[in-house]
């Protein structure tokens, strides 16, 4: 009864073999990406396989608490992963990141579910889970890039920010430029993808819908909605995490905390 052609597990081997060519290239040129590609590939397969099982169960039961629990789990993992990929980080950033990413993604999903899609029930996992997933995935990248840029900018070159402070700048005057840079960098992937969307790239969700048999015009409207949601989530989440980091690394008496105070190991 499917409107699309099934991909069987065994046929996935053909897709996987394409990756092998890259592994060989990496080994020959000693690029050192072979191991990382293998690990990432294996993780992807296992995670998606498990997700398939979980989603099937959640979709069948379609009960609110199960959807909420899955959403929170996804948000928690996204929040932690976002911080783990930065080159400098302090312990409190994990909590900040999880709180911000869950709040913003849930808020934006809530608005679109209540205001645009209005499924029954409102927590219908068929809509809520994919939306949430896309928002979290994009917010993760934004937070990672933004936080990394901010902490690197402020902490790797303390003398710069402290030079401002020594001249009588407030902590905000000293850090403003770094906050602005963090937001710019955090939003680069989102803005770039919006700029070329439909010209260079056919967005993943739209492609998926079309493959699954949806009319292109419908898929386009869904895509536009999701891109607006993504842009809103990424900017809010990146700003939120950056500002919380700002509040943690500066004291109220306009001093930049030392690496030791923050629990950071700088090499």
């Amino acid at each position: 009864m499917n409107a699309y052609i099934d991909v069987t597990w065994s046929s996935l081997l053909i897709a996987a073999s394409l990756l092998i060519a890259n592994l060989v290239l990496s080994a020959v040129l000693r690029l050192g990406m072979g191991r990382r590609l293998l690990v990432a590939g294996a993780r992807m397969v296992v995670q998606l396989f498990l997700l398939g099982l979980v989603l099937e169960w959640v979709f069948e039961s379609a009960n609110g608490p199960a959807v909420l629990a899955l959403g929170l789990l996804m948000g928690g993992v996204a929040g932690v992963t976002a911080v783990r990929r930065t080159s400098i980080r302090f312990p409190a950033a994990y909590l900040d990141s999880v709180v911000v990413i869950v709040t913003t993604a849930f808020l934006v999903t809530g608005v679109s579910v209540l205001g645009i899609l209005k499924p029954t029930p409102l927590w219908d996992p068929q809509y809520v889970i994919p939306l949430l997933g896309m928002l979290l995935g994009n917010a993760l990248t934004g937070i990672s890039l933004g936080l990394d840029r901010f902490l690197t900018g402020v902490l790797r070159d303390r003398t710069r920010v402290e030079g401002f402070l020594a001249l009588g700048a407030t902590r905000w005057e000293a850090a403003q430029e770094e906050v602005r840079e963090a937001l710019r960098v955090g939003l680069i992937p989102t803005v770039n993808s919006m700029l070329v969307m439909g010209i260079v790239s056919l967005p993943g969700m739209m492609t998926g819908q079309i493959l699954a048999g949806a009319a292109p015009a419908d898929a386009v409207r869904y895509q536009i909605m999701i891109v607006f949601m993504i842009a809103a989530t990424v900017s809010t989440a990146t700003f939120g995490v950056t500002m919380l980091a700002y509040a943690r690394i500066f004291t109220s008496d306009h001093r930049l905390r030392s690496a030791g105070e923050l629990g950071i190991q700088l090499d």
Binding site: T159, R160, G163, A166, L167, G168, E173, H254, S258
Partner: protein
Amino acid sequence: MPILAAVDLGCRLPSGWIWRGITLSLSAGDRAVLTGPSGTGKSLLLRTLCGLDRLGEGHVLFRGESPRGHDAPDFRARVMYVQQQPLLIPGTVQDNLDLPTRFKVHARRESGEGENGGRAGDLLAQIGKPADFLEQRASVLSGGEGQVVGIVRALLLHPDVLLLDEPTAHLDPETTRRVEEVVLEWVGAGDRALLWTSHDPAQVDRVRRGSRIQLGGVA
């Protein structure tokens, strides 16, 4: 009443106390000198005095009062620390001298002060810099020229106390003398005080008029 006083300051690093029991008092006209081998925490002491580093123990008084936390920018505008390699932003020397006017604390103070335009040129001329120095790009300045910009920038802001961190470390002897002259003239011209860090015994003799703080064991 001293302009700036510090009582029983101590600075603790994970490895132990780097210095302890530091007491100092700077009154109008005082030219205190801070000496000690590299790594004994001279910069740390200056940073602690202006509140860039956490006070391990002891307290700092500005005109008899403990600086309150939220007033830190105002305090640092009065007790100004000049880093050994002062902050330079992209742009010209003039842009760098104007940098502090971006900050609220100076916008407020500037209104009551006179024009700074000519004063920068005068100070630079006194240090032996040509008139077109103001138009030079900050990115091509040598370490010593950067120090000169940092000192002139601080002087233009009319602080009450200057904390100078080896201000002539990268300067030739002639420019060193001129910088000393400009700074000492500034201290003598009002209710001001100076704390100068140096490795050079001859310079210590020329600059010092007031206490000497020696870090790192015996002198």
